[in-house]
């Protein structure tokens, strides 16, 4: 009896986990894409702060974890809390991106909990080795045999684990909040790839989905931002989730189509908790397109979808309400904190001032900020129920003003964006095609364009060509081939770009990070190019060899070049830019040249060019992640050991933080 009962519960657990895996990853291939992505991101995961506004969000999380929205405990950065993105309301400091902080909270709890039982640094190595084991078995059983795959990946995984343990350093718990944020962004980037896989597998085939998902991870700037705790990757993942829900809900034979429709709106609601301006962009694309192309719009459906959307917006509204009393006034509109008042009542200078430390490597101060008064109980800490009721009434009274302000701001920015596009084509060229040496503050050569950091997007050049050729023959066919999802991807990309064009190009964006959420949609577009799909279907092998060759040999040659030529960071970044530009440009030229060549030659060349485009970007992501960026310690011990030796040889490229 007992045995049977335990078997049953075992079966229930197993079927539940199978269901969850199926719901999130679709199939084994989806899991493999996710694991491969995480393994790659972890390889160059540095536990630390990339730029100083990371302090703000890490402090936000650290204080949310203490059960408060305001920041009374400046755990990271300077004691005054005067960091970019900080806000001050009623004399209290508040952070930003509360959605990210709350999403990272469970991860922080897991880290804190685990650290009681196991050392976190060794656990990270263990998980990485389990990932290696999974990937080894999954790839090996397709190429050789399952038995050989198991034996060899077992040895590799165990060997790498022991190697990591050899160099492992303990991780102080004060790093847990920043690690939780980094794990959240890495998981988001991995899921982003899984969503793209599922979308393209549904529209076309699994191979297209698989390759484009891997291209997104290994061949675009997504990898660069994966372990950096900023909003971009998370917004991209939510936008892709919304896109996926939209696509699934277009099919009336889909039994869960209403659920998927609601999901596409729920992703918008969560985005609003992360960064409202970008949620509005997603909403203005989704809502009209959804209503226009849904299989049906019965009032029951609209109520369900609207209800879920409203619920998904609640966390964002509630956060805003609790801080400023207006649910529709997002953090971006709260008064900025520039250190104008001394919040903590101390007259001390920021901790780093007068400290001779070349502060490229900010360390969190283990002690709490000086002269800290215990947080006072105020009317902000109201009961949840009162808050909800009050928030509904506030929604009606103050809400509309703020909403119309938000929409008019968006319209205003888009107008400027259109103006820039029409009158300053040079700026568009700098942002999308070739960066060159921009006259920005700081180092001028390190901010690269979209094409330079995601050269595979050169293949998108095929789309206007195809549209033009078709239009010449018969105007209607252009639209025959356009799916609602294509309209979604194009509108989202264009509107997000217009929103930010007035600020771009900007320093410290490295890969035009504001437009990062556009990248997965653009890679979706590459997957929609029929010639690319022909390449993947008929002649993928030359591309794979080219990619492997560039990554394995190119990475080493690059390091050799760094040692011999001793370039400064701007020079190294510009060489990456030139290679990326050349790879992307070649792919664009290829899309236009197909007519004159035999099909075999065209496909072979295309395969190699895609391999080059992805390869140079992998080299770029690895070099920037491992060598140039210089903050914190690597999460994996053996990476730390190797890069430390390397850094002694290539000093000039790493002397300044990026």
């Amino acid at each position: 009896m007992n045995l049977r009962a335990s078997n049953n519960s075992d079966g229930v657990v197993r079927s539940l986990s199978t269901r969850i895996v199926h719901a999130v990853f679709a199939d084994r291939l989806g899991v493999t894409i996710f694991v491969a992505s995480i393994l790659f991101f972890m390889l160059y995961w540095r536990i630390g702060f990339f730029i100083n506004d990371n302090w703000t969000i890490a402090n936000t999380l650290a204080n949310v974890a203490q059960g408060q929205l305001h920041i009374s405990d400046v755990v990271y950065g300077t004691d005054s809390g005067n960091h970019p993105g900080m806000h001050i309301v009623d004399g209290k400091l508040y952070g930003r991106n509360y959605g990210i902080a709350f999403l990272a909270l469970p991860i922080l709890w897991i880290l804190d909990g685990l650290s009681v039982v196991v050392p976190i640094s060794i656990t990270i190595s263990a998980l990485w080795s389990f990932g290696i084991l999974w990937i080894g078995v999954e790839i090996g059983r397709r190429w050789v045999s399952a038995e050989i795959a198991r034996w060899s990946s077992g040895f590799v995984a165990l060997g790498l684990f022991l190697l990591n343990v050899l160099f492992a350093q303990p991780i102080d718990p004060r790093w847990h909040p920043i690690m939780a944020l980094q794990i959240l962004t890495m998981v988001s980037a991995g899921l982003l790839a899984v969503f793209l896989y599922r979308i393209l597998a549904r529209i076309h085939d699994r191979r297209t989905g698989l390759v484009m998902a891997l291209v997104l991870v290994f061949g675009t700037s997504v990898g660069f931002w994966a372990s950096i705790p900023k909003r971009h990757v998370i917004i991209a993942a939510l936008a892709m989730l919304s896109f996926y829900g939209f696509i699934r809900s277009r099919q009336s034979d889909e039994p869960l189509h209403l659920g998927f429709r609601a999901l596409s709106y729920a992703a918008v609601g969560i985005s609003a908790w992360v960064f409202p301006a970008e949620a509005i962009v997603l909403f203005v694309v989704l809502a009209p397109l959804d209503i226009a192309t849904a299989p049906s719009n019965t009032s029951r459906e609209l109520v369900v979808v609207g209800g879920i959307f409203a619920i998904s917006l609640l966390p964002a509204f509630l956060t805003n309400y609790l801080v400023v009393g207006n649910p529709l006034e997002p953090p971006k509109m709260w008064p900025d904190f520039h250190g104008q008042v001394d919040v903590f009542g101390s007259s001390e200078q920021p901790a780093n001032a007068g400290n001779p430390e070349p502060s490229s490597n900010p360390k969190p101060s283990p002690e709490p900020a000086g002269n800290l008064e215990p947080p006072k109980e105020t009317d902000h800490q109201r009961s949840l129920l009162t808050a909800i009721i009050a928030s509904i009434s506030a929604f009606v009274s103050k809400g509309f003003a703020a909403a119309s302000y938000g929409v008019s701001r968006l319209a205003q920015y888009m107008e400027i964006g259109l103006d820039v596009s029409a009158n300053e084509p040079g700026k568009l060229y700098r942002v999308f095609i070739r960066s060159g040496w921009l006259n920005l503050s700081g180092e001028r050569g390190i901010n690269l364009s979209i094409l330079e950091t995601a050269p595979v997007l050169g293949a998108l050049f095929a789309l206007p060509i195809a549209a033009f050729t078709r239009a010449r023959h018969r105007a209607r066919t252009v639209f025959d081939h356009l799916r609602p999802s294509d309209v979604f991807a194009i509108s989202y990309s264009v509107i997000l770009a217009l929103l930010y064009l007035h600020r771009l190009p900007l320093y410290a964006t490295i890969t035009i990070r504001y437009l990062l959420p556009v990248i997965p949609f653009a890679v979706y577009g590459v997957g929609r190019v029929s010639m690319i799909r022909s390449v993947l279907r008929e002649n993928i092998v030359p591309g794979l060899w080219t990619y492997a060759g560039i990554v394995m040999i190119g990475t080493q040659l690059w390091v050799l070049w760094l040692i011999l030529a001793n370039p400064i960071q701007s020079e190294a970044m510009q060489l990456h830019a030139i290679l990326g530009f050349a790879a992307g440009g070649s792919l664009a030229v290829w899309t236009g040249l197909q007519r004159g060549m035999s099909r075999q030659l065209t496909l072979g060349l295309g395969s190699i060019l895609v391999g080059i485009a992805a390869g140079v970007t992998t080299v770029f992501v690895l070099q920037t992640g491992l060598v140039y960026a210089h903050y914190g310690e690597f999460a994996l011990g053996f990476v730390n050991a190797i890069v430390d030796r390397l850094a002694e040889l290539v000093v000039s490229v790493v002397t300044k933080s990026m």
Binding site: P119, A126, P356, E571
Partner: protein, 164 residues
Amino acid sequence: MISGRQWIRIVVGTILLLTVVSGPLVPGVSFTRAQEETDFGNGTAQISEVEFAETAVIEPLRFGGDAYILDMPPTRIAVDEVSGNPLVTYKISISSMNTTLIQTYQLSPEDTNQRVQLQFEKAEIRSPPAHLDNVDAELTLTLRNRTGKQVIDTTNISISTTHR
């Protein structure tokens, strides 16, 4: 003979076991080693002799940049005694270009009785005045710690400029 599946279980089991053993549940065993924390900027040093770099060049950047870099050979200091980790800052002031560059080095007790090489790493610099083939620069080495600073030595050199 064990099967591949059993081998996988052994690998996973070993990794989990080692992870747990290294943790707080098994006191006294830990596979992690903390790096020695250096007490940054706290300490003193005696420096007896300074051999400044005698030349330097300002030349155009590679790969299409319209900026310039400053490149110079190392400066050497003879260190008699070090306690703690005091810092040496290396300042280059070029008044005709209205430019000051600073790099910082950390000394440690192992540097006692050594000649320490201070390599001013290549740095991006604004364009030199087009009519000048040479610019004058003042090099200053300063010993700093948390309580104060003290100029070690200073000198003037001429930096040759290459124009694009």
